[in-house]
Symmetry: C2
């Protein structure tokens, strides 16, 4: 089945808001072996909406439309759909009932403007919005394509896609060939090096390999189609894991932070953080994970030197002699936070994220990482490239990878198998 | 001038990677009064790339293409472009020279696979890539449209767009009517309420108003075209500011965190943070801002109770009696971090972000915020809806707004004008 996605909104074409819905739709459909073949985006003009709908309905079996269903005057998707099909708009009683119920449930008064969201093209079937106000709707295009209209608010859109659209698509296409896929996330290897290693790994015939860079990570997607799809992808994954070794940090949807959190939890290790240039980013990424309180005891964002000497017990002499951005300071921070928090590991980052503060000796991008354990303290100097946010992100990912590797080493030392990424 | 953007990559259509390039291109062009009228996205298949190029070149004056120029075998944009124009691919000496120079500059060996990035359609003009390896190129389509091909890596793409594409587009279209725009960011008012207030504000005729929700913020865009564009938008902005009052938290590209940072800096206030459920998110958002060390003395991520009693001096009796998620604990945290850090303000957040940990009395989404100053401590209980990341983000934005308002009140008290958002 040939599916297209159409995102509608001036804010998307002006760049004021990035379109995240198309990717979310593609992910959910893809996990059910339904592929999006084309995506398009037009603004809030009736004619352009109608033209895009007519074009996509001609070349695809289904079109999933997002955005432009809201209460404000610039939401014109229902008008565009009515124009494309040459039908009038009318106030849909079912849609209006759903809008009223939503506000009753929230215990909030309905604004008169909210009624506009029940003005739908004639013959539209209403799709319930379990999370928000604007109902969606479904139409059959004269060319035979099914058109689904969903709101632009991401979590509302996604819930309606799963509940109201996906079952219809799956029922329409019961004979689609099985497909299978697996995604691998790499940290610490450049893209051509990843491809070379995978070429040498001799993956099974019929497995497609695709690469993307998502700074500072490289992502690889393995895909296969046909009755043997899952077997082929499983075999490819085994070969890829061997070839990519411990640069492979995560599988599937897992993020690097999730992988680090999972390894730390499995190893039963506790951690405390001392962040200078990353300013809470590492703590944020770890606490994004539910259950992070099991391993994260505390974190310190120590911008001022007084915080470094007070909380982390960095000797004033170290700051005076080597400065806050130095190997000695990173080591003292890691050991200090570990002692104060009483954790298995103490991780510290200090550096110059920019745009200012660089010197000839320590240019912007100079970052020291330190990881203290009961046995020793590892300290390393890095020179990251890019702007402030890239230096911070590269520092944080390196720190998460250190934690992940420390946890895996601990598990291996305990005689357990290393935690799967 | 009628401009289209085409993003290429299976990873975009599978949703493995969201397309952020289209929005970035639209923003840069928009700031020069060049509007993107249509965006499209296709996968890494030669035929589909060629079809999309031919279609967009027929209906637009310029097409900006991103992605698929990399070293790996799944990068097929140059092939698709050659097919669309019916020309062969050949190794471009200028492009190859640029690739070699890039690796020399980095002091890294060039991988043999990197040579593929110099295989360009015949008659292509090479566009230099100042930040990465893959060069871009420019072609004239037989229908007259200018086609620009840029890499998919966002910062490389954006640098090349600014340096190599924008000047060509501006030179092509010297007579475009002036347009002006202003963006307003609101926090604490629902979308229909924002629209009602703006309707009542009687904005000048000819100004278009567009709304978008970017949880938990509402964004408004004011636009006008024609010789009076800037004057009209300026007048609309004045009226909108009056109507939206202090719910207006930021103007233009500014984020809420940036607005808070700017107000704190202007007011000369110092801050220390004590974060429980937000786990470093507030610190991260504030330290995203260059120069944040001026006002942020330190931050504590106190997940464990031992960290709350140790660093924040929360009395053990408070934790025993009221629990870590309580008004008393939030107040003690804010006052404790303020005293320890010696700052003007101490801000604390404690709550239940979920998915687990909720009770009948304190369901998931229950969050206490406290702000301690030399004068008093304000504490408030919130009940945020949504998932873990939404509860955390709503908490963090509320905290940033409190800091912003405290700084503006301080400035007003000093007799200065309130900091412009």
């Amino acid at each position: 089945m040939n599916i297209a996605v159409l995102a509608i909104g001036d804010e998307l074409l002006s760049g004021d808001q990035p379109d995240t819905n198309t990717a979310a739709i593609a992910r959910l459909l893809g996990s059910h072996a339904l592929a999006v073949r084309e995506a398009a985006c037009v603004g809030d003009r009736e004619e352009e909406i109608a033209d895009a709908l007519n074009r996509l309905a001609t070349s695809h079996h289904a079109v999933i439309v997002t955005g432009g269903l809201g209460p404000t005057a610039d939401d014109r998707t229902a008008r565009g759909a009515a124009k494309a099909l040459g039908v009038p708009l009318s106030l849909d009683p079912a849609a209006l009932g759903q809008i009223r119920q939503r506000f009753q449930k929230w215990g909030r008064p309905m604004h008169p403007r909210d009624e506009k969201q029940a003005l739908l093209p004639a013959r539209a079937a209403v799709l319930a919005n379990p999370r928000g106000v604007a109902p969606g709707f479904q139409l059959r295009h004269p060319k035979g394509a099914d058109l689904f209209f969903l709101p632009g608010v991401p979590d509302e859109m996604l819930a309606m896609l799963a509940e109201s659209v996906l079952p219809v698509l799956l029922a329409k296409d019961p004979t689609r060939p099985p497909t299978a896929g697996q995604r691998l996330t790499l940290f610490g290897l450049a893209e051509p090096e990843v491809e070379t290693r995978l070429d040498q790994a001799a993956l099974p015939e019929g497995v497609t390999v695709a690469f993307t860079v998502e700074f500072p990570l490289v992502r690889v997607k393995l895909t296969a189609t046909g009755p043997q799809a899952q077997v082929l992808v499983d075999r490819a994954e085994v070969a890829a894991r061997r070839a990519l070794d411990d640069y492979l940090v995560a599988l599937g949807d897992q993020t690097l932070a999730e992988a680090a959190a999972r390894s730390l939890t499995a190893a039963g290790l506790t951690v405390a953080l001392a962040e200078s240039c990353t300013g809470g980013l590492i703590a944020k990424l770890l606490t994004d994970q539910p259950g992070s309180s099991v391993f994260l005891e505390r974190g310190a964002v120590t911008y001022a030197n007084r915080a470094k000497t007070g909380w982390l017990k960095v000797p004033a002499a170290v700051l005076a002699r080597a400065g806050a951005v130095s190997s000695e300071c990173a080591q003292a921070m890691a050991e200090g936070i570990r002692r104060t928090a009483g954790t298995d590991l103490g991780l510290a980052v200090t550096g110059i994220a920019g745009p200012d503060g660089g010197t000839a000796e320590k240019p912007v991008g100079t970052v020291y990482l330190a990881l203290a354990s009961a046995v020793d303290t590892r300290v390393e100097r890095f020179r990251f490239t890019g702007d402030r946010s890239q230096v911070r992100l590269h520092s944080a990912c390196t720190a998460l990878d250190w934690l992940r590797r420390a946890a895996i080493a601990q598990l291996a030392g305990q005689g357990s198998a290393p935690a799967a990424p």
